[in-house]
Symmetry: none
Amino acid sequence: MRLLLVEDTADLAEAVAIRLGRSGIACDTAGSVAEAQAHLAVQAYDVILLDIDLPDGTGTGLLRKLRAGGLRTPVLMLTALFSVDDRVTALNLGADDYLVKPFDQRELEARIRALYRREQSQKGEEIRLGVLALDPAAQTVTLDGAALQMTRREMTLLELLMRNPGRVMSKERLFEGLYSFDDADVGLNAVELYIARLRKKLSGSGVRIETQRGLGYRLDADG
Amino acid sequence: MRLLLVEDTADLAEAVAIRLGRSGIACDTAGSVAEAQAHLAVQAYDVILLDIDLPDGTGTGLLRKLRAGGLRTPVLMLTALFSVDDRVTALNLGADDYLVKPFDQRELEARIRALYRREQSQKGEEIRLGVLALDPAAQTVTLDGAALQMTRREMTLLELLMRNPGRVMSKERLFEGLYSFDDADVGLNAVELYIARLRKKLSGSGVRIETQRGLGYRLDADG
DNA sequence: CAGCCTGTGACAGGTTAATGACAGGTTCAA
DNA sequence: TTGAACCTGTCATTAACCTGTCACAGGCTG
């Protein structure tokens, strides 16, 4: 899951990001409306955490703009003071949930997962390609019924590829799906590495990852 | 199993929660419709116990809303006075069962387990995996006929795993089934601990718990 | 043929999980 | 009420292994 945290209190933002990161949620942070928009222009997110008080505007203002622009990503509002009016406004503008500071980290995480679950539950279950099947809910990959052992990163990469079979995925695109901005120091070579590891595990599966030199990779079924 | 108890009589709620907790059912309580909705927005439950008389509305009203919203979780209605009309209304609204106060705690628990079992669509009482069998009603585990001694938490964890054999269950997911909000201070490490204890008891049983580093745990039968 | 892109083995570092020891709490019986 | 047995969860230590970098080989492109 990839999440954008818009919050100008650096301490709080960092604490939340670390905590969520530990739970396997890739978390990018923005300290202002402008920064948030910059991130949103470049990166797709599964959930957005939005503080109301921001140095260069309000979270509600940003939310209105985003919804007006057709963005449907679930938004969870955060704020120190939440009057009934604020709350009604926020929900009317298209916020999906809200949380009053100070909040319990565990509750925050639970709500994030609830939003994510709701979003994901609309998506289908198993992804198949030939005899290869990936079940995102069960986090399992089977090859003709036999289980394949995958690590977290391998699973994420394979899911990305299987959701776009036959289509060329650029190395940068795959990288974005695998890493958050905090992992900015990770080299693009890491993608190549995981492609290699996946190929090894998929060898003889009737599914192969083709290299499109200079363009990216494409997942194909034999035949 | 994770359960939501919606009941405004604090004494009763606490008594039931403690009793159920002792049986390995993680029980959150809500004293009002609003509180119940807050919990439901955040946490998935296996069963809901719903009192009819609540300070800010009625249980039937809440039930109607929940069903209208597409929630299919089994609901057991509780009430002091249950006229035939109430009963018919409740069942028509999508309640799965009802119980008239004062009720026997054992009967309550039996009905909860019945609803849960039905939800899990387990035909027989028993869940089997290889030579390992778990009887949720009797709360017993047998290995090739020989009884295995399990503690409350071990039993709950094993049941969670046995109901999802071959699926990777994240540590967080297991934690949710094992602990209620009241146990918020318990560390995730506790799950690891019980996995270790289960493994010890299951050694040589032909059933093993595989670790998927970074993803969770998976119960598998040898072979 | 030169230059760049990609593949891959090996390795170091860091994170995650396993586990033994321990303390507090609960249960149960006397 | 006391004590014993046992269940629970924390902590700290150790082990496992996932991750990503590096380096170099090989191949594609122009």
